[in-house]
């Protein structure tokens, strides 16, 4: 009987303990960050969409249009458009024909970098397979968490142009949050 009563009391006490916990947290500081007004500290490691790595010339990608990435991608979101060989001048044409006739190797004058690099972010699963299989190390994740758009087409990137516009703009201001303050602990 006494045991029962003690148990009931301790049961009821457990309710008080619960109230104590919530009461304590009620008074403790909040753990959330007022996001758009304060920066959060965990977005640097996010992958974000793909982008091309520029070579020494910031307007020219490292990419050599080999197409490995497009082949490797499980979701088929990459399309690499190779450049057409430049129209040869008549002399060159003649020289080429001669060389061919002589059994020499024709030097391909086509620039290696892609004309277009189309990337469909809506399909991408951010797996990184393309990046790992690129022989030139020409792809990387942009870490851009602010990619949002009104239509599907906003997620269709032309990565060469994207890289060039990015190179145009000063890289510092590109993906900063609206108000860049340091976050509260």
């Amino acid at each position: 009987m006494i045991k029962e009563a003690m148990k009931t009391v301790s049961d009821l006490w457990s309710l008080m303990v619960g109230l104590k916990v919530t009461g304590r947290y009620f008074l403790e500081p909040q753990v959330t960050v007022r996001y758009p007004w304060k920066a959060v500290d965990n977005i640097d490691t996010f992958k974000g969409h793909l982008e091309l790595v520029p070579s020494k010339d910031p307007f020219k990608p490292k990419c050599i249009s080999c197409g490995m990435c497009a082949l490797a991608c499980p979701s088929n979101c990459l399309t690499v458009v190779k450049r057409k060989p430049p129209k040869p001048t008549p002399e060159e044409e003649k020289a080429q024909a001669e060389a061919k006739a002589n059994g020499e190797k024709v030097k391909d004058k086509t620039p290696k970098d892609p004309e277009k690099f189309i990337y469909d972010y809506t399909l991408c699963s951010l797996c990184g397979t393309c990046m790992e299989n690129c022989p030139a190390g020409a792809l990387r994740f942009s870490g851009n968490v602010y990619q949002a758009g009104y239509s599907r087409n906003d997620f269709l990137f032309e990565l060469v142009a994207h890289m060039q516009t990015k190179a145009d703009a000063s890289p510092k201001t590109e993906f900063e949050p609206p108000v860049a303050e340091t976050s509260e602990a």
């Binding site: 619960g18 916990v21 919530t22 009461g23 009620f26 909040q30 959330t32 007022r34």
Partner: protein
Amino acid sequence: MPAEFIHILIALAVVAASVGALGLVMVWVERKVAGHIQRRPGPFEVGPNGLLQPFCDALKLVGKQLFMPNGADPILFWLAPVLSFLPVLVLFLPLPLGDGIMAQNMNLGLLLILAFSGLSVLALLLGGWASNNKYGLLGAARGVAQSVAYEIPLLLAVLAVSFQAGSLNLAEVVKGQGTWPWQWNIMTQPLAFLIYLVSALGETNRAPFDLPEAESELTAGFHTEYSGMGFGLFFLAEYANMAVVCAVATVLFLGGWHGPILPGPLWFVLKVSLLLLLMVFLRWTYPRVRFDQLLNINWKWLLPLAVANLLLTAFFVKFAQYVVVK
């Protein structure tokens, strides 16, 4: 008596306005407190500290399309929210805010409150029944069983106090208590206070007894099908009901407007807000009880305790009278 009639009408209008305001404030407080318990700020974008958020919510609710499910009973369906809200207005009439400050002094004020608060169950039942929804039906059934059950210990607890005070007039009950906490009824009737609090939670369908709308089981229970202001009225009625039970608790147990230094109405409001805060805290702390447990708590614990308490009170009151007469 047209004068008195007009008086009541004016009082009702004032009450309606203040209930609306109260609802808005309560929504804000609830969300703020819930936020802070959960270590987030709660609403803070609209207005200073999110104070205008409830207005926006209300505006949104008003602006929403009123929608009725196919096969619902149109009259009963729309009657239910109104019926849940209107009686609440009456409940505020006999509440004494301060010495002589009340909408209507009534001899049977307590009885009026108990009688009219029973009507909210009817609204709940109608709402659940008329919406032609199985969840609504289950919620309504739960609501009725729960309210009927919890009304009894509530009544008994209240009765014990009125035995002691010898009156059903709320102002009289308050006048029977003194300025300091040890002169309040809670000191002589602690058990009745506890019983009252628990049954009040049950009566107002607040967590952890929010079974008629238990959203993890019944999606939204009896108001599943209500949209816009239909839902808004239920919502408002819930908060108004909370305020009423807290106010009655203050009057009966916590000395009403009595208190040192500060003016009476302020004390009253302070005590009511503290009780409301407690209710909010309970909601955000505990899991929901199960339905059979809910009824067990009532029939096996609260009811016998309340009856015993009432008998004891009656005995002591008679005994005291006997001694005094002697």
